[in-house]
Symmetry: C2
């Protein structure tokens, strides 16, 4: 297929932000709604979220967590109890003040004013705090390992589809433990679960590290994160895991009696991943022809495209497509049955083909009268350049061949993203070089630099001067000297411009 | 097991409402939260909701619907557009008026007042109306068949767990069609999907019919429903399906050009089932010892209870339990792998056994040193009276035997509930007999009586006098005479006291 013009205009190199919006629009993933900052997730986008939910939910359950559902609302006084927490969310809280409408002179008036406003949850630590204080009495009740899938609201003045929306979907894990060590182990265990899931299923390579004090979750003792590099070399925080120490257990009086009948406050954690991940998936793998869907997370592996321009042959072509579908959907890849769909819409073959390129389906099979007659298929893999078709006889469409193609695509995406990130992380050993690096006209990538944890003010001024933040702190192999203060340190800071 | 005292106090016959609360409490399904009318669904309750979601979602997809996610909020002006709709929901709307909190003299003050309040969705017809008007242009865009799983809020002054809560979880289907016939077919098709699902999987027999004008969904042309009988002989509406005609398409200007290029408004439907269904499940099958879980909807089929009172033998007992678990979880029932769990908690055997009776797990296996030595199991089915144990050698635990036990339990629950409902529907052929029937001291059941559809005022006065409503209208086989007005009619009304 020779086509000079790309499906997405502008292309990445011209205007990355607009390219991102166009990819979403042309793949029909989501759109903004008439409510400020809120989005509608359309079928093709929601299928992806369902795949993410299914695969991550399995991992959350396998690590011993149980799902619950907590109320959407929380009393304002609960949120206020934890000082850092309320400070962190005050500027973006949706508040319910009334519970009724009454008609007066033909106009509606708000009524049923609440004695205390309710906050639409921005996260559920305070609700969980109250529940845990009731549910936990003895060491036998620990560890308490729960999770919920829910919508949360953080009012957003500059919305961007998937990346920043006033309402988003996520899972939030909340756990309570009998010792600080056990809670710390849990915090890091779930970070590893996220890393494994994101890397293995979404083919997104990540850096794993700790946040600085400035970037911590409001109320946490430590926040850990996984960070990914987008194709514009900006960073996206993909998931976080928080060690909350006894901050919330002291605020909400979550105490347990240990084996010696002594009372102690529990240690808690929380961790989450949201629909923001879909924004990352789009920005890591898509190209100038649209979305590219890694096979292991795809809710549709193969699209069959019948070319129906010869009425005398349409019936035979469709029957052949159906036969192919039956063969293919008996196969399994990565523990799931292959999802195969036939696009029977009344549209030209080329148009249909481009629709599915833009949607990023891993494998396309174009089937016209010629393919039917010769019992072949014309196969295209979404990750290969120029949308090269391969013609194969039906006899070669074995399970090994098809899953081999899917796995090859998964690995291609993974290695491509991994090389890209590696090539764009610059080790920097002098503070001046850090300025030079980020003062370049276009974003050069991430910078890795020896850094002392106490440089909190310096971190703030670099943010103001260069527009960069520390995405995470990563342990050094041996002690290093901080490039700014010359103090001995055991961490590198990863600096980047970020979403 | 001989035990005079029941696990639930009071028993059904003494105080049905309190019995219901105790069943929920002792099975640890849910609890009320500190936010008025909102509940926390606990792990054992949420597992049930996950099973319902999984099994119903499959049916919704198999009938051609795709899932999406719409915003939690809607502008008040949108809800106002449909007059009947706003009238129906005005008295129970949660309203967001502010989006920020600011600190002033150490106190928090509401800020960021919205120009127009936002309504927390009580249902999504108006959001969908706006989306459909953008998404639909041509007959090629029809039918448009979508669904969403979401939380909704209807402010509730007298909450009851699962049955009436200010926030609840549900699915809401929304479809648009090119003809009134097609939309009507869809409305009834989804009603049948609900009936089949509820009867086959939850073993809850239902009556299928149409609502009277008084009981219609606000904005619908016709509302259809499935209604179940609880053990106190009150009715519970389990699901509804609405034919909305062109009411919403005219309000939101959802037009399509047909094959002759002429513009027409679409016909729409909506249909939903909620966490209320769990309340119905509890009230139909549970007994004076607690919850009873139909095997086809159970997220845990078998609980293995090791009896660990002899330290020398505990290890062998646990190994034997593990062996049983491995054997059992390789089996399948109703298309799902058997879910088997070992309760290793440090508790007395009898106490553990009662915990799982109250939770309603279909099959319990008690395993002590004797069972291990003789290679037997002591098996109890939750539906059999007096919790009779059966001792069986391990060799008899074949897949046929186990799935046979599960299916026998499913059928027992089904036939028991079906007989109960049949025995308590009274055919009544005179209006005085209707009064006599419902003036009895305790609720006698449902009454079926020939009824003319125009008796709207009469319906209202029966509600006031006797506290009964028409749950649904059911077609007669041949024309009948209305028992109140003697007018010819083709429907029976099912009268009942209802939740």
């Amino acid at each position: 297929m020779t086509k000079q013009k790309t499906a997405i205009q502008p292309i990445r190199a011209q205007n990355y932000a607009q390219w991102y919006q166009q990819v979403i629009k042309l793949a029909d993933l989501a759109e903004l709604s008439s409510v400020r900052g809120c989005m509608v997730i359309k079928p093709w986008g929601y299928m992806l979220w369902e795949s993410i939910q299914e695969q991550l939910n399995r991992r959350i359950k396998e690590t011993g967590h149980e799902n619950i559902y907590c109320p959407l609302f929380m009393p304002l006084s609960h949120l206020e109890k934890e000082a850092a927490h309320i400070k962190g969310f005050a500027s973006e809280c949706a508040l319910v003040t009334h519970t009724r409408l009454v008609s007066e002179d033909g106009k509606l008036r708000l009524a049923g004013e609440l004695a205390e406003p309710l906050v639409v949850r921005p996260t559920s630590e305070t609700t969980i705090g109250e529940l845990f204080s009731r549910w936990i009495q003895s060491h036998r009740d620990l560890p308490l390992l729960i999770n919920q899938w829910a919508n949360v609201v953080r009012w957003e003045m500059r919305p961007r589809l998937f990346l920043r929306t006033s309402e988003f979907l996520w899972q939030e894990g909340h756990t309570a433990h009998a010792s600080t060590e056990e809670a710390q182990v849990e915090t890091l265990k779930m970070l590893q679960v996220y890393k494994e899931f994101v890397e293995r299923q979404l083919a997104i390579p990540v850096l794993v590290g700790e946040k600085t004090a400035n970037e911590r979750f409001p109320g946490a003792v430590n926040t850990y994160c996984i960070e990914a590099m987008m194709q514009d070399k900006k960073a996206l925080q993909v998931a976080t895991s928080h060690f909350l120490g006894q901050n919330f257990s002291k605020t909400f009086n979550i105490q347990f009696s240990n084996q010696d009948e002594q009372l102690s406050h529990v240690w808690t954690t929380s961790w989450g991943i949201s629909t923001r991940l879909i924004g990352g998936l789009i920005m890591v793998h898509s190209d100038d022809d649209g979305f590219v869907l890694p096979p292991r997370i795809a809710a549709m592996h193969i699209i069959i495209l019948p070319i129906l321009h010869d009425e005398a042959k349409n019936k035979a072509v469709l029957a052949y497509c159906q036969q192919l579908k039956t063969i293919l959907q008996a196969m399994h890849y990565d523990g799931r049955q292959l999802q195969v769909h036939i696009d029977q819409r009344d549209k030209r073959g080329g148009e249909k083909n481009w629709d599915w390129i833009k949607k990023g389906v891993p494998i396309r099979l174009e089937i016209g009268p010629r393919e039917q007659e010769h019992q072949t298929v014309s196969l295209t893999r979404r990750d290969l350049p120029h949308h090269q078709r391969t013609s194969c006889p039906i006899s070669t469409l074995t399970s090994d061949y098809i899953t081999g193609q899917l796995e090859a695509m998964q690995q291609t995406l993974w290695h491509r993203a991994q090389s890209f990130m590696r090539e764009h992380i610059q080790f920097i050993d002098h503070k001046d070089a850090l300025y030079d690096y980020f003062k370049q006209k276009s974003i050069p990538g991430f910078a890795k630099i020896a850094w002392h944890k106490d440089n909190s003010q310096l971190e703030q001024s670099l943010k103001e001067e260069l527009g960069i933040t520390i995405r995470c702190l990563i342990s050094t192999v041996q002690p290093e000297k901080c490039c700014f203060t010359q103090k001995e340190t055991d961490v590198y800071a990863i600096f980047a411009k970020a979403y």
